[in-house]
Amino acid sequence: MMTGLSLERGHALAIHNLSLEFPTFSGAIKALDNVSIDVGKAEIVGIVGESGCGKSVTTMAATGLLPKGRYDITSGSVSLFGRNTLAMDDGELQDVRGKVVSTIFQEPMNALNPTIRIGKQLTDVIMRHEETSLPDARRIARDILADMLIGEPERVMNLYPFELSGGMRQRVLIAMAFSCKPGLIIADEPTTALDVTVQAVILRLIQNRARRTGTSVVFISHNVAVVSQLCDRLYVMYAGRIVEHGATRTVLEAPQHPYTQALLRCLPERVAPKQELEAIPGAVPSLLHPPAGCYFQPRCKEAVDLCRSRSPRLAGAEGQQVACWRRGVASETSGQEGRQ
């Protein structure tokens, strides 16, 4: 399958047709179904979707962070700067993580070790990947903290995480992610737990630093509004599948997929005053027993018989692709029918 978009400067991350299952007693949970995501070098790409749709699973699978032995990759490949992360052993992954790809997680409250001082946590990472002495590592840490607009970085380094506000902690985490100058940063809902006022600042920090250093960023969020301000391109996920993909502006201004459209209608800032906010009826389907055909069809107002029997696949022009029978050219994905 083609991604349809040209990436002039080459790939930072190329996920190709990735399918992943969690085996459980009642059967396999199909968490990812043929997910393909490309991230160009120095590009900022967003993945949006409701929680549970597989955004985090995708990136965690790509960086080998999922719990061992608890999942099966049934198909697909992942290429991180040309290297196949799926084939790496623990040691190789450890070398890659932090150095080539860093992840910023949500919940900054818990993402830092509560019993270790900030400075040590930063220098541990720096000294793990860079050949530096402790004083050098501390200087690097200080500089990068300063770059994250943290006043008195020296003092902050001597503090414990619980002595910092949520926003400050998230800056520390971002600093940590950038500290070894990775080529790719995965920001997994980095601002979800923060105040709205702090959110904007944090997002700006990530964006600025990434643009300045030419770092690629994968931005994961359930909040379309947040993503729209930052990203060059956007992937919309639903129930473990990519349903729409395109340049941010295109997707936001002319959403094709009924799900994307519904998602956008939920945004308060996009709704005209006095018009009612809309909620998407129904719930995300169980991935243990997914519905036949298009996964969105049980909640889709436009669904027709075809939608209920066959899964649509991603298709469309370079600038925008959508997986929907009711939109433009769509062909059938292979072997999706009748799965229980």
């Binding site: 890659v96 997680f105 818990n110 070790n113 793990r128």
Partner: protein, 337 residues
């Protein structure tokens, strides 16, 4: 400031506990149907002799007065006189406590040395063969009747193979060293009695292991559970995402945090240790507090029973105080607020 805030309520509690325990044990000992005077003077003592013994013990006075006297003496550190040995209970406790502490310390040390690594391995390799083995061993430890385990080990190692001693603190022919601390391992070394030191170590192996085994089970289970909790914390994911090495993550980032809740458990384990020590000592003829209190109970030596109970309760409160302090030192969140 933080320290006083922890210590002060504990000291108040200590007062409560000592008073409460004194009341409870005093009440119990006066419920005892057996007549302590008869225990001392003998079965066939004449009524006159019994009366005299009762008067000497103060047992002829009203109960409230007896209690006031007891508490008054208690406050001066006087635990009364043992009915059986005619010695001050405090002196008896000083005699027997070191042996128990020595056994307990060795057992705790063994239990920690085996239990912590086992718990860590079990959590890290969850559901793997190592985990299954570790869990089986730990469940065995928790479920082991100490008294029976001791008997079996004595039978196997002492009676059958004759490779380890099965009773006492020193070999028959070895003259005990002068008593300095009461801890044989220390006293023998202070006096350069290397033969006695080796014998003491040798005699500690079986009882130490028996006592350690049960506690090891508890420790393994606790470390495993808190390691599992910690390993799924976000900060461990952060550490993994930063590419830190597995060993660093497990020992510097995870174990450290997993040990904090375990400190509380250590306090509880010390309580268990006391209970286990009483049984272990009776099996291994270990001349410690356990043997002392069991004999005291069998002979209704109630000043000794009360003294033991009070000392043990004070020990319990103090251990908890230490545990809280250790907790405070280990967790910066409590320490610095």
């Amino acid at each position: 400031m933080a320290i006083t805030r922890i210590i002060f309520p504990r000291l108040i509690l200590l007062l409560f506990v000592v008073l409460g325990v004194a009341i409870i044990t005093f009440t119990i000992s006066h419920l005892i149907p057996g007549d302590p005077a008869r225990m001392i003077a003998g079965d066939r003592a004449s009524a006159e002799t019994l009366e005299n013994v009762r008067r000497n013990l103060g047992l002829d006075r009203p109960v409230v007065e007896q209690f006031t006297i007891y508490i008054g003496n208690l406050l001066q550190g006087d635990l009364g006189t043992s009915l059986r040995t005619n010695r001050p209970v405090a002196a008896d406790i000083r005699t027997f406590l070191p042996a128990t502490l020595e056994l307990g310390t060795v057992a705790l040390f063994i239990a920690l040395c085996l239990g912590v690594p086992l718990g860590v391995l079990s959590a890290v390799y969850k559901d793997g063969p190592i985990d299954q083995i570790a869990r089986t061993v730990s469940v065995c430890g928790i479920s082991m009747p100490v008294f029976w385990f001791g008997l079996i080990l004595i039978y196997v190692f002492y009676a059958h193979f004759q490779i380890l001693p099965g009773s006492g603190r020193l070999a028959m022919g070895i003259v005990p060293p002068e008593r300095i601390t009461g801890f044989l391992l220390i006293d023998t070394l202070l006096q350069g009695r290397f033969d006695a030191f080796c014998s003491a170590v040798y005699h500690l192996i079986l009882p130490g292991f028996v006592l350690a085994f049960a506690n090891m089970g508890v420790i393994t289970r606790q470390i495993r559970a808190s390691m599992l909790d910690v390993l799924q914390e976000d900060y461990i994911r952060t550490a993994r995402a930063s590419g830190l090495r597995k060993g660093v993550i497990i020992f510097n980032y995870a174990l450290r945090n997993a040990l904090i809740p375990s400190i509380t458990l250590l306090g509880l384990a010390l309580g268990d240790l006391l209970y286990g020590a009483v049984l272990t000592e009776t099996i291994f003829a270990w001349p410690g507090m356990g043997t002392y209190v069991v004999t005291s109970i069998q002979t209704l030596d109630f000043p000794a029973i009360m003294g033991f109970t009070i000392v043990a309760s004070i020990g319990y409160v103090l251990i908890n105080l230490l545990v809280d302090l250790a907790y405070m030192l280990a967790d910066p969140q409590i320490r610095e607020v």
